[in-house]
């Protein structure tokens, strides 16, 4: 038995080493950092312990901008992408011909590099001295525009960011919802059909309640994911997100850590913990709501 004890821990050792060094220790450390006031990165010394870092971050206009951007992004993209994914999954489930082809196409964005495709979105929407770009060409058909979606007004930039985010998160949602829909036993649909139930009522009264656990799972992970948005914004607007007014909370954390405005791990830590607190709160609220509405 003694021997077996050692062996067990031996097999676990690599995992424990990696996780301990790069996950558990940093987790503790980030809390400490967030309370160390006036931390100096070069000398690794600090002046005192206290809540100053939180105060600083919460009064930093860049952080407030990032907070606002992130909330707008979350509030728009989570409902839009979930609703759209539901619509598309229901469509996918109701067809037989070329279904696999559609499924394959719809999954493509999942395996693409966020940064790379973001560049494509950028040139589609960007106005340059040589061209107004494709998006503006379409707008001009409706006698609108031109608008510079990349360097122009705030709403236009936010629109592109939301659009790209939805484009990126759709594959996962469509995939999960399609398999949830497929797992609803066809017998319920037959039973409802024999009772003369309309398609719409079958959907709202049977399909939706039956897939509600999956739907809530997607909404919760959707919230978490959207709150951590960053690389899609970088892809569209470049690394200097503060200048573009398009920074996100995660972007703010990294900017505090690194780059021209970097060197403040204490502020970054405080911001990260604020983000964590927000995500935790929203997730708890989501879970409470889902307890009430998910029936079984």
């Amino acid at each position: 038995m003694e021997n077996n004890n050692r062996k067990g821990w031996l097999y676990l050792l690599p995992a424990i080493a990696f996780l301990g060094l790069f996950m558990v220790y940093p987790l503790i450390d980030v809390f400490l950092y967030s309370f160390e006031e006036g931390y100096n990165f070069a000398s690794q010394t600090y002046l005192g312990i206290g809540g100053y870092n939180y105060g600083y971050v919460l009064h930093d206009p860049y952080f407030l901008q990032a907070l606002k951007n992130t909330f707008i992004l979350v509030i728009i993209t989570v409902p839009v992408s979930t609703g759209l994914a539901l619509l598309i999954s229901v469509g996918l489930s109701s067809i037989k011909k070329v279904r696999e082809l559609y499924q394959t196409i719809f999954f493509l964005p999942y395996v693409t590099n966020t940064l790379a495709v973001g560049l494509v979105f950028m040139i589609l929407f960007k106005q340059t001295p040589y061209t107004d770009g494709l998006a503006n060409l379409i707008l001009s058909w409706f006698n609108a525009g031109p608008v510079d979606f990349i360097d122009g007004p705030y709403w236009a930039k936010m629109f592109v960011l939301c659009l790209y985010t939805v484009w990126i998160v759709m594959p996962f949602k469509v995939l999960i919802l399609t398999s949830a829909l497929a797992s609803v036993d066809e017998i319920y649909y037959n039973a409802a059909k024999v009772d003369g139930t309309s398609k719409f009522r079958i959907f709202t009264k049977i399909t939706l309640p039956m897939i509600s656990p999956t739907l809530f799972y997607l909404i919760i992970t959707g919230f978490i994911g959207a709150f951590k948005a960053y690389s899609d914004a970088v892809a569209l607007f470049g690394v200097d997100l503060n200048a573009a007014e398009m920074n996100t909370i995660v972007g703010y954390i990294y900017d505090m850590l690194y780059g021209n405005s970097g060197g403040y791990p204490s502020y970054a830590s405080a911001a990260a913990i604020i983000l964590f607190a927000i995500v935790l709160t929203i997730t708890c609220i989501n879970l409470l709501v889902s307890k009430k509405h998910v029936h079984y």
Binding site: A191, V194, G196, Y296
Partner: protein
């Protein structure tokens, strides 16, 4: 509602490239009388569920017609047929209560047929009373026993006053004791509502005990439509004879010569009017009579005492069954001695079938 099937056929395309089409329902011609309880009986995989789904409208026939009364409903989708269907595993909506499950079909009504909440509630209560569930209206299906779930399913099918009621293996998911009880219940409910009811089963006893009429089918083909007792007492072909009855019928190779039935060397029965030919002779277990100089001699295996009756287990070289079972009154037990046993046969318990066509030969 009288139900008429005319040349009803359902063909499923082969699944593989080389496979053959499966004809699950082959040229059904039936008139099902109004207000009766009909058992559709057959071994599993014989197409009886397909037949039921054609009636419900969930499947579309390849050819042929279905009439409810005078209405041709052949191409009418399930939504518009107005049938009640009880599924084998009930298909109760797990997220709805018993009451919500029962009112579900009523809520589908639109336009002038639309019901008020009160009306729906009343109708649901009435249906629940019919299946004796009125105390459980607020439970979820997962909180009910199998038998109770079954009743909810029936109530849900009945609440909309269906033109016909269809049940797919209604008792197969219940344990033996509940099955007996529910069987009676079904009979009672059908009598009380008077709705033409068709139920599918592979259990002959179930079909025999409650049906007004039995349809025996196999491999997509109807073999016999008759009263329960008639199906047993006068099977039209070898399949029906073999399929019905427990213990199963005893099957012998025999031949007819000079209006006498021979099994081996022994002439066992007079069969007036039958021409000389090889035949398959079948004898119900209760068709044997112990007789000291009986016509049929079998090798005695053992005797199983079952109280009122005894079951004599014997063998005969020309018998297709592994052993011959004959049910005999227990009073005669003393007559059985030695390693041979001899029987006379009861004429009305012996059926002859044509060797090739397996059709009944009357005598």
């Amino acid at each position: 509602m009288e139900v008429t099937l005319q040349h009803l056929t359902k063909r499923f395309p082969a699944s593989g490239k080389k496979g053959k089409d499966v004809i699950a329902v082959n040229d059904f011609n039936v008139v099902i009388p109004d207000g009766k309880l009909i058992g559709l009986l057959g071994p599993s995989g014989c197409g009886k569920s397909t037949a039921l789904n054609l009636l419900s409208g969930l499947l579309k026939p390849t050819s042929g017609k279905i009439f409810f009364g005078d209405d041709d409903v052949t191409n009418l989708p399930a939504e518009n047929r107005g049938v009640g269907l009880v599924f084998q595993n009930y298909a109760l909506y797990p997220h709805l209560t018993v009451k919500q499950n029962i009112t579900f079909p009523l809520e589908n009504r639109k336009g002038k047929d639309k019901l008020t909440k009160q009306q729906m509630s009343d109708m649901a209560l009435e249906a629940a009373k019919l299946v004796q569930l009125e105390g459980l209206m607020d439970r979820k299906p997962s909180e009910l026993s199998g038998g109770q779930q079954q009743r909810v399913a029936i109530a849900r099918a009945l609440v909309k006053m269906p033109r016909i009621l269809l049940l797919d293996e209604p008792l197969s998911n219940l344990d033996a004791r509940l099955r007996l009880q529910t069987r009676e219940e079904l009979r009672r409910i059908q009598r009380e509502t008077g709705i033409t009811t068709i139920f599918v089963t592979h259990d002959q006893e179930e079909a025999m005990s409650i049906s007004d009429l039995i349809i025996v089918m196999k491999d997509g083909i109807i073999h016999q439509i008759d009263l329960p007792q008639a199906v047993y007492d006068s099977p039209v072909d070898l399949f029906v004879a073999k399929f019905l009855g427990t213990p199963p019928i005893n099957v012998f190779e025999g031949y007819v010569k000079g209006e006498k039935l021979y099994i081996g060397e022994e002439a066992v029965l007079d069969v007036p009017g039958v021409v000389d030919q090889p035949v398959t002779a079948t004898i119900r277990p209760e068709g044997f009579v112990l007789a000291e100089n009986g016509a049929l001699t079998c090798n005695l295996n053992r005797v199983e005492v079952m109280g009122r009756d005894i079951s004599v287990v014997s063998t005969h070289p020309l018998c297709e069954n592994e052993s011959i079972r004959s049910i005999i009154s227990a009073e005669n037990i003393a007559q059985i001695t030695g390693d041979k046993v001899r029987f006379d046969l009861k004429e009305d318990k012996v059926f002859l079938f044509h060797k090739e066509t397996e059709q009944r030969i009357e005598f």
